[in-house]
């Protein structure tokens, strides 16, 4: 019976965070003197820069220097991009500005107040140009072109074919199609970006303190732009980060920008992004226009699907995009068993801010697309939406299951878990409730959404963006892998220090690692200390390092557990030597090594640790002094895409099923979430407290995207959601009444048996809520095809519907 694993252990992180003793970047004073940056940003969506005059700004007392577009051109290179199109993306605008908020200059001064004063005195002469914000419009031949040297706005286009989609559609009894629009939103962590940069001109080393969350594949991307070897770009991350959600993956251009400002001015520079900057110019998910088509037999069997996906990546495509399109590729068919799929994928430039990972990364889009379409299909066939799904789920007996796109679903039983969800929600009773409500003229709807929830991204998936012929050329350098590292040290008194490289943002990694290691060693959890800050100079790390794609519980936790097991093996060998027994006969329980069946022939964990450090002379032959191990955990199936564009884009796949019931106020259009049921298979649960916390947060993020949050632009590219008054984050009053259920199908792919859970409901909530609202409005002939569904949007739809009814269907 596990003592620590699976228990709701209180977090090791909390006492410091509750008393104001956390260490976030803005709290650091790593150098005796720091100077402060203010960034001048573009007020235009699209304009040519004719000239930049910094003279008056430089004259302000306290100003040390100013980084200009000219400096950026001279001192740096464009960031490498993950597409074949040679997009030139620098840390500032150079020739043109291409979105509102794009950095143009950086003022460095004694304090932030002076820097902002001086920023007002920089004169930039702009020649405004026509802007384009709609991705479909941007693809038109006569659209304004953002990057003239490329000549069009399409950053990436791939046609992917799996099975024989044309035959599937030819064979179909019914084809159902829908055009859908998914909005641009962001998880907006409460702590904005923060960077401190120092450049040492003697040895050419940059030192960066920041709240970067990884993936560290973006470290070499930053180094390339700075024209520096990787080992002279030192990343330091403090133990506390104020939320990430993927948004803090995309801060690397600002790391480069502040590094260049430090180099230009010769002083260490600190920049803390303010909220207005964050909303306008940090990161978000893409907005997407999708054309979805499904081919079905009359009994509801799905034969195939066509997905045309047009993702708006903003003014410059930034790694790891176009991951927005391809991150979910292995699970592009969701939990369904159809074999024939065509994906027409576009990443398009417009005059909007840049995009990147945002909790769910591509999956919130994909499942909105699929699940919305399937509800329409169920309606067309006259089937209950639950029944349509039931008839198409991959059976539990098929696990592990290889999808037509190359995903390997490791463990689970989707039909059984779905039935559990229906039970949890008392689905039949909900439908009765709906029938009563409808009979009384009320607008009551029920929505279902199912998702295969991918975790631990395979670095190889990004290369799907390249034509497969390119990937087959000699000399092409393939990408793969999902490794993480962890270190365990046992000191001379048997206390343990673990160092992890995951750069956590509040997920409780210190707690979970302590649980795993205390369990492995059979020692009190208080004896395990976990160090969660990061320094690229002194840690063993690799490209995939970091926290993203829900990877910790499977990747970082497995690496640290593996290190602990290896230390334990060494200690067992030492104990066996001390007990004059064979290592295989020695076991460790509750902090004591003893000979199997002879518990009085024993030596304590602490005593063995003491010998390893204090008395190497007593160690068995071939055993080195000391007790420490750094291990790497990689995944067997993290391989590069094959020549058919198939890739196991993630290493583990959980399952999420949700049922939402809503009631809509017919007068105001207000949507009331009456019930929210959420069923999860996240593999083995390491700490239920933390798992539930992740799900609560994920539901709220998904709900926010479905109902509240959108980065709104007008047709000229003016940004209209620049404050938290305009960008509407839900509060405690809007949080839904949530009922969570769990099943546990441990995965064989990780050492812990855990899959990811961090993204989970953020992928299903938009679809589930959209389906519920659509169901509520169905009697009025209203179709929901875009998000967010705000009260004003519902109100307008209600008005149109009533007008239609009044005129007998005539417009």
């Amino acid at each position: 019976m596990p003592k620590w694993i699976g228990q709701p252990i209180k977090r090791a992180e909390d006492p410091r965070l509750l008393t104001g003793q956390g260490t976030y970047v803005d709290d650091l004073r790593p150098l005796p003197v720091l100077y402060h940056a203010a960034i001048l940003r573009s007020p235009h969506a699209h304009a040519r820069i004719r000239s930049v005059n910094i003279e008056r700004a430089l004259a302000v007392p306290g100003v040390v220097g100013i980084l200009t577009p000219q400096d950026v051109l001279e001192m740096s290179d464009p960031f490498p991009v993950g597409v074949e199109t040679p997009v030139r993306y620098y840390a500032t605008a150079t020739d043109k500005v291409r979105f509102v908020g794009e950095p143009v200059c950086v003022v460095v001064a004694k304090d932030r107040y002076i820097a902002e004063d001086a920023r007002e005195l920089i004169e930039v002469d702009y020649e405004p140009l026509p802007a384009v914000v709609d991705p479909e419009r941007a693809m038109a031949p006569d659209a304004p072109v953002l990057h003239e040297d490329i000549g069009h706005n399409i950053a990436c286009h791939r046609s992917l074919r799996y099975g024989d989609p044309d035959a599937a559609f030819a064979e179909a009894d019914v084809v159902v199609s829908q055009r859908q629009v998914f909005p641009k939103y962001s998880s907006t962590p409460m702590e904005c970006y923060a960077v401190i940069a120092q450049f040492n001109p003697i040895n050419g080393e940059y030192t960066i303190w920041s709240n970067f969350q990884g993936p560290f594949s973006l470290h070499p991307v930053t180094a390339r732009a700075l024209r520096t070897p990787e080992n002279k770009l030192r990343f330091i991350v403090p133990p506390d980060i104020g939320g990430g959600f993927g948004i803090k993956s995309s801060m690397f251009p600002y790391i480069a920008l502040i590094a260049l400002a430090a180099r230009k001015t010769g002083v260490p520079v600190k920049w803390v992004e303010d909220r207005l900057e964050h909303l306008a110019a940090s990161s978000s998910n893409t907005d997407r226009v999708a054309y979805m088509e499904v081919a079905l037999k009359r009994d509801g069997t799905i034969l195939g699907m066509r997905q045309k996906l047009i993702d708006n990546v903003g003014a410059y495509i930034r790694a790891p995009d176009p991951g927005c399109l391809f991150r979910p590729l292995g699970n592009q068919v969701g939990p369904y068993r159809f074999q024939h799929l065509a994906v027409e994928a576009y990443a398009v430039h417009t005059n909007k801010s840049l995009t990147g990972p945002n909790r769910g990364y591509g999956c919130q889009h994909l499942y909105f697309n699929i699940e919305r379409l399937l509800d329409k299909a169920a309606d067309t066939l006259g089937l209950d939406p639950a029944e349509l799904r039931r008839r198409n789920l991959i059976p539990g007996s098929a696990m592990p299951y290889t999808t037509p796109t190359g995903g390997i679903y490791d463990a689970g039983d989707y039909p059984a878990t779905f039935e559990k969800l229906l039970e949890l929600a008392n689905y039949a009773r909900l439908r009765e409730e709906q029938a009563r409500a409808r009979a009384a003229g009320r607008l009551y709807g029920i929505g279902i959404a199912l998702a295969v929830d991918p975790s631990v991204s395979n670095m190889g998936y990004v290369t799907i963006a390249f034509d497969r012929k390119l990937r087959q050329r000699p000399g092409y350098q393939a990408k793969s892998g999902a490794a993480e590292t962890g270190t365990v040290m046992v000191d001379a008194r048997g206390n343990v220090t673990c160092t992890i490289n995951t750069c956590p943002e509040g997920q409780g990694h210190e707690t979970t690692v302590a649980q795993l290691v205390a369990e492995e060693f059979g020692i009190p959890i208080e004896n395990v200390r976990v160090v969660a800050d990061f320094d690229s100079n002194s840690r063993a790390w690799s490209i995939a390092t970091g926290t993203y794609s829900s990877r910790f519980a499977a990747a970082g936790a497995s690496a640290t557990l593996l290190a602990a097991r290896r230390v334990k093996e060494k200690m067992r060998a030492i104990a066996a030597h001390l007990l004059e027994a064979a290592p295989d006969d020695v076991v460790l329980e509750d902090g004591v090594f003893f000979v199997k069946g002879q518990p009085d022939r024993n030596v304590t964990f602490r005593r063995v640790a003491g010998v390893a450090h204090w008395n190497p002379n007593a160690l068995p032959p071939g055993i080195e002094p000391g007790l420490q191990n750094t291990s790497v955990w990689n995944f067997e199936h993290a391989v590069a895409p094959d020549d058919q564009d198939r890739v196991n884009s993630s290493q583990l796949y959980g399952f999420v099923g949700e049922i939402v019931a809503v009631e809509i106020d017919p007068e105001t259009g207000e949507i009331q979430l009456q019930h929210y049921y959420s069923m999860h298979d996240a593999g083995r649960i390491l700490n239920p407290l933390l798992v539930e916390g992740q799900i609560w947060g994920a539901v709220l993020h998904g709900m926010a995207g479905a109902m509240y949050e959108e980065m709104v632009y007008d047709e000229n590219g003016a940004f209209l959601a620049g404050t938290f008054m305009d960008y509407l984050c839900p509060t405690a009053m809007e949080a839904p009444p949530l009922t969570i259920g769990h099943v546990e199908y441990p995965t064989p792919a990780s050492l812990t048996g855990a899959k990811g859970v961090g993204e989970s409901s953020s992928e299903t909530a938009p679809a589930a809520i959209a389906n519920a609202v659509a169901d509520a409005l169905k009697p009025l002939g209203i179709e929901i095809t875009s998000l967010p569904i705000t009260p004003s949007k519902v109100w307008a739809l209600l008005r149109e519907a009533r007008a239609r009814q009044a005129t007998g269907g005539q417009p």
């Binding site: 992180e13 976030y24 409460m190 939320g243 509040g506 407290l689 916390g693 609560w696 994920a698």
Partner: protein
Amino acid sequence: MRHVARTRKQAITVRVNGIEYEGQVEPRRLLSDFLREDLGLTGTHVGCEHGICGACTVLVDGRAVRSCLLFAVQVDGAEIMTVEGLARGEQLHPLQEAFWEHHGLQCGFCTPGVLMAAYEFLRDNPNPTEREVRENAAGNLCRCTGYEGIVRSILAAARKLQADR
């Protein structure tokens, strides 16, 4: 050298968490910057600088305020309490205990403001309903917890504070 307005500093005296501080501040210096940068009390966090998110909430003469919307000169002579003033030495305040027990925080960035707002709320309304707790907590944005842990923690703290009374 030109002298600009910023050099005209003003002397202020404030008591923060029971300790008296004297400072020289520009009239435009935000209270949040004064607390964090001049006094080194970095427990108070700045999340939006326009008064919406509530992360920077502190108590000024017993009332919860957004320290990003006040100038330091406005609190001259005032009694201020920040998150650093909640615990008694190594003994956590019942609110802090409850947030630890009920997973009321994840990244911890909004937490100081949430705690200070809840401190005032429970002082004025020691036996709140869940709805009242939610209404009050709606003054603070949190992006991690979905608010469930926060609401449970505040309700638990209310029970504990009642029992201790």
